[in-house]
Symmetry: C2
Subunit: 356 residues, 2 copies
DNA sequence: AGATTCACTTATAACGATTTAGATTGTATA
DNA sequence: TATACAATCTAAATCGTTATAAGTGAATCT
């Protein structure tokens, strides 16, 4: 039912204070108590009488009191903001939206807001983080694309700012993170290609300065050893390479003397460029070459059959990261808030192939 | 007796004030002026002497003064926040990230932050907007998926809250918007299919309750009339339909008695489902059926050749919407801040076809 | 009884910024 | 010589919240 929210204000104030949002003062007036008493009552301070507390809460609920963020923030420094620091290099295809959605899922129902703070490829990745900290603009920070010796991690740990990263580091600092097990992905990717009889494998890796480049490489190497397959150099491209360049590069590679018969691709978007290159070379995926790829949206299966696809659930990552940050804010030990997620493999045939 | 000694200490100690963020008080102390004088000087109030003003600004720059958002917000009500209200139904493939990026581009370099406020399909779309307004959480609001008689638009216009929408309404209210010309898209889509000799056309439309459904339908109808083509009922599906259902539906449709030889698709994601359905029916895109589709990312061309693809630049939309909102906040008339963007057509062949 | 404790509640003072009204000049006007 | 008047700057109050110190009874102790 509709609550007579503003009428009480109007009643006391006499004049038509139509817009006035209820504050602690409103409740104080209505209850005959002092403002600090109301404040403490609402946060269940032990030194407030039970019946007073209850009466205050009741009034607060009736008039729909919501604490003013600016007031709280000014007094306590608490912003009720979680910042997501986004690189503009972030894979466009779905990554960001899933991440935002995952974080939002956790934040809804809490007093926290999600603020998106971007930084461009040209700038220092540390800049937006430093800005957030120096202006005390967030209670917690989330970012991805971690590097082994990530300056952002050092900076935040040093200052004791709650944060969690999408991706691990090798800083030796016990910070909170969520990561996808890219090593497991790469191992399994190789094995799956080997199972199809592929022995000359190329890898489309992440950019070499990111931590998960090393995980991916390690897994790839381990897989090769385990399967007795060999690596074919792909060189000079990574998952951030624009699709058109990726296509051109793949085309050249597939028409060269030393072409691979299997490709492990670290990204869904990149895979599309690779396929284009393969087909431009007159070859057929699933016949001349097989691909095992990681994707973070759901399109890859829809595009070509015979793809070995591992899915990374980015919205899960978002949920994990957000709840980790909230718990760190609540005092939990970041070192205990680390999680890995594992590839879910699907063969495109499961969705009925588009062709073939 | 024991008073909080923060400032006094900082002043005396001088050197060790490492953590304290500079405030107006800091500048006041450094300049020997009063706090309000500093405040007015920094905002170029006319009643402050030119040399004072300059001296204050110099000090402010030197110590890196940035106004505290909470202080400003508490006193003035100005939040320096632009809220992007996101439906969880928002097409996942790239839409959101491009929109966020576009808005961020404009907001960077201003004191504004971007806050993302989601709402679930189950909830009322008005809820998050009402929340933002009632808690005075944003200076401006951006949202999409407008309906002809959009309650959010009515609500915001009524209250004079600055906002701009991705999509038009038929409320008769002169609000700011950015929209893609879906009518032009649909007309041209039909004509392009007709030019390929297609005469029996089906349409994958937006959800019928959204404004641009009507634009799309109008354009489709006009195109049909102009080309002398006929419509084949597609029925029961729209661009928000899950890909698997879309595929199944298309499959049924393509194996039925009354199958279309051309499809106009209102979304990039949907198109992928359609293609899957077509090929599952044993038909070939470009031979048995042609497709003209709208996309908001860049993948469609990479997936199949012979597609007529119109691109909608979502990050442009974001930039337009953000700058419109900023200008409305600055007092400009929303009625003058309306813009349309037009389809950029590409035939996949321009990117060299993947097959064929 | 008088002192002490307990259980609550109120008063005061911040946080950082801005707004309004006043104070202090020096100068020009009557 | 006053008076008026800009031109500048300062004082005080305020936004909503909370931390800290100080009060107020009534009940308990010595």
């Amino acid at each position: 039912m509709a609550l007579p929210v503003r009428d009480k204000d109007a009643k006391r104030a006499g004049s038509g204070s139509r817009d006035a949002r209820p504050t602690l003062k409103t409740i104080a007036r209505l209850s005959g108590l002092a403002v600090p008493t109301v404040s403490r009552a609402l946060k269940n301070a032990p030194d407030i009488g039970a019946k007073t507390r209850q009466r205050v809460r009741q009034i607060a609920d009736e008039i729909g009191y919501v604490p003013d963020r600016a007031g709280v923030r000014l007094r306590t420094g608490k912003t009720n903001v979680i910042a997501l620091v986004l690189s503009t290099e972030e894979e466009v295809m779905g990554q960001t939206s899933h991440m935002v959605r995952g974080i939002s899922d956790v934040l809804s129902g809490t007093p926290y807001h999600l603020v998106v703070t971007p930084y461009s490829r040209t700038g220092d990745a540390l800049d937006p983080v430093r800005y957030l900290v120096e202006t005390a603009s967030a209670d917690g920070i989330i970012f991805s694309r971690t590097e082994p010796n990530d300056p952002r991690v050092r900076y935040l740990v040093e200052r004791g700012v709650p944060f969690s990263t999408h991706g691990r580091t090798e800083t030796g600092l016990a910070h909170s993170f969520h990561d996808f097990d890219n090593e497991a992905f790469a191992v399994e990717a190789v094995l799956r290609l080997a199972a199809k009889g592929r022995t000359r494998l190329a890898l489309l890796p992440p950019p070499p300065w990111l931590t998960y480049y090393h995980h991916t490489m390690a897994g790839f190497a381990r897989g090769l050893a385990q399967a007795g397959a060999m690596e074919v150099e792909y060189g000079g491209v990574d998952v951030d390479t624009p699709l058109s360049m990726l296509k051109a590069h793949t085309h050249k590679c597939m028409t060269g003397p030393d072409r691979p018969d299997g490709i492990v691709s670290g990204s869904g978007g990149g895979t599309i460029g690779i396929i284009a290159g393969i087909e431009a070379a007159g070859l057929v995926v699933g016949r001349d070459v097989d691909i095992a790829a990681k994707q973070s949206s759901e399109i890859l299966q829809w595009i070509r059959p015979n793809l070995e696809v591992a899915s990374e659930d980015i919205s899960l990552a978002g949920r994990d990261l957000a709840s980790a940050v909230l718990r760190i804010i609540d005092g939990e030990d970041p070192a205990t808030l680390q999680s890995l997620s594992y590839p879910r493999w699907t063969t495109a045939d499961a969705h009925e192939p588009l062709q073939g």
